[in-house]
Amino acid sequence: MAKLFKGHKVGYLFVLPWIIGFITFTAYPIFYSLYLSFFQVTITAVGIDSNFLGAINYLEIFAMDVEYLAKLLDFFMEIMISTPLIVILALLIALLLNQPLPTRGFFRTIFFLPVIISSGPVLEKLIELEVTSIPTLRSYQFYQLLTVSRGFLVIDLIIYIIDHTIILLWLSGVQILIFIAALQKVDQQIYEAARIDGASIWEIFWKITLPNLFPMILVNIIYTVVMYSVTILNPIIDYIRYHMFRIETGFGYASALSWLYFIIITVVLLLLTSLFIFFEKKTSRR
């Protein structure tokens, strides 16, 4: 009978594989890669040969590696723009799909398709052959007009959206489903009550729907940033791999590159999360 209550020990037993795995394949590698980033690492036939460099790898990036810095800056701008766009698009599509339409399932199937088939090489091929922006839009006069007045923030943003429509939509599949699931969990009686009180659709959206979705918006922001940062589409990942196997730079330098990338992603996550919390506070005060 006594063994019935030894539950906590059994709990550890179930979680043990994860703890071992976390230490060996995640925690230790993180610190090891930080450690390596301060070394010149060369792989020899006998083993790994490392020379302590101090912060030289990092200094070298900031002083010499203009290409990487430019890539990081591009990535930073892109992800800061794309993430809110993807989340907003996903939210709008989810709101549409949440309507009681008979063909809802069909559209859901289509909207989720990209999640299944968008591997790096497939997306690369599509971008390479220019299938990822809507060509008919590009041939319209107004697009031509827009490109003339490049340089203004708003216009650049619109051009960016047009050029990336398909990619932005393709990256929103999971987010759409997360929003739909959340929408369906909102208590229908609240809507009824609001309608009886004469609230407009607009008011209902801001006062009921949106606040109910806040936690999922946060989840989707994080999900989008993470997925965006691991797609092969972003050139940084390739750049790091290139330096990993390049004899002059090697693992040490590549580790420094990847740590810098890690820091940028953390900054992006913190920035977007705090922006969102700011927005959340503002809307709930309305």
Partner: protein, 308 residues
């Protein structure tokens, strides 16, 4: 607002905001429009892959090729080394996916059904592993795998999966955590009184009750492993290949196979062949998706990611 406007609004927008004729039409128009944007690349691939050189060069042929032409596919099958690579891809995706599913359920069960010291901290750590970008981990893991002698083999995928550190493991652990949390505690207590051990309860009661979570996890895991090329390229070297990796090398392989025979236009790589190759690498996934579509789409809902 005026009275007439309100009346007009009622006719077109409907009373509750969803049953108006105008609103419905608008929603459909937008959905069809967005749907087209989603499907456009696929349709384009499909159309282009059946075009022969003449159709490709003919600007008046937009979508439907003038004749049935399967030459692109014949070439692409050879370039990808399709059937052999398909088997190999299935080998390096199904096994890690299966292992990952089983292990994630085991770990998720532990988190969901037991109380122990440090559980909260561990759960938060599980979630943070999701945010760590793979490039940070890949160099030390590469060195580690190298010293373990498991580089260039499927073990480089399976070993982390066995220990709950596979591709997107955090999501799957979370899915099982949510699923197992909803099981009634009484069931377990009854089984315990009957003398069933903890593992017996897990295998005999918990697993059968979470069948849908298993299926969803396995499917997503399979798809994500299939589409993963960054890790695959580094871990597997030249020893193992997957179809997406073959697609990455498509141009090189093509040139090696065909172009050396002479430089005539007919043997040069064209868009049609490339699109055929691209489609071939995703067809297996498309087949799985359309058969199991319900599980993918409802999966996100069903498994309660949105539960808390």
């Amino acid at each position: 607002m005026g009275f007439s406007l309100r009346k007009l609004k009622r006719i077109f927008l409907g009373m509750s905001g969803t049953d108006g004729f105008f609103i419905k039409l608008l929603i459909y128009a937008v959905l069809v429009g967005i749907g087209f944007v989603f499907l456009y690349p696929l349709l384009y691939m499909l159309a282009t892959s059946f075009k022969d050189l003449e159709d490709l060069l003919n600007a008046s042929v937009h979508w439907i090729p003038t004749k049935y032409y399967s030459g692109n596919y014949e070439r692409a099958l050879v370039v990808l080394n399709f059937w052999q690579m398909l088997l190999q891809t299935l080998f390096v995706t199904l096994i890690p996916a299966g292992v990952q599913t089983l292990v994630a359920s085991f770990i998720g069960y532990g988190f969901a059904r037991y109380e122990f010291k440090g559980k909260r901290v561990l759960l938060i750590l599980v979630l943070t592993t999701f945010v760590i970008p793979p490039p940070v981990l890949i160099i030390p893991r590469y060195i580690l795998f190298n010293s373990l002698g498991i580089l260039d083999s499927i073990a480089a995928y399976v070993l982390p999966a066995v220990l709950g550190q596979g591709l997107n493991s955090a999501i799957f652990i979370l899915i099982f955590y949510q699923t197992f949390k909803t099981l009634p505690k009484a069931l377990e207590e009854a089984a315990q009184l009957d003398g069933a051990g903890h593992f017996k309860i897990f295998f005999k009661i918990a697993i059968p009750m979470a069948a849908s979570a298993y299926l969803v996890t396995f499917l997503f895991s399979f798809v994500w492993y299939w589409n993963e090329t960054y890790l695959a390229a580094i871990y597997f070297g030249n020893n193992l290949t997957t179809l997406p990796l073959q697609l990455q090398r498509f141009v090189d392989s093509y040139n090696r196979l065909f172009v050396t025979q002479g430089g005539i236009a007919e043997t040069n790589l064209n868009e049609g062949i490339e699109m055929a190759g691209t489609l071939l690498t995703i067809i297996p996934l498309l087949v799985v998706y359309f058969i199991m579509q319900r599980w993918f789409v409802e999966g996100v809902d069903r498994t309660g990611i949105t539960g808390e």
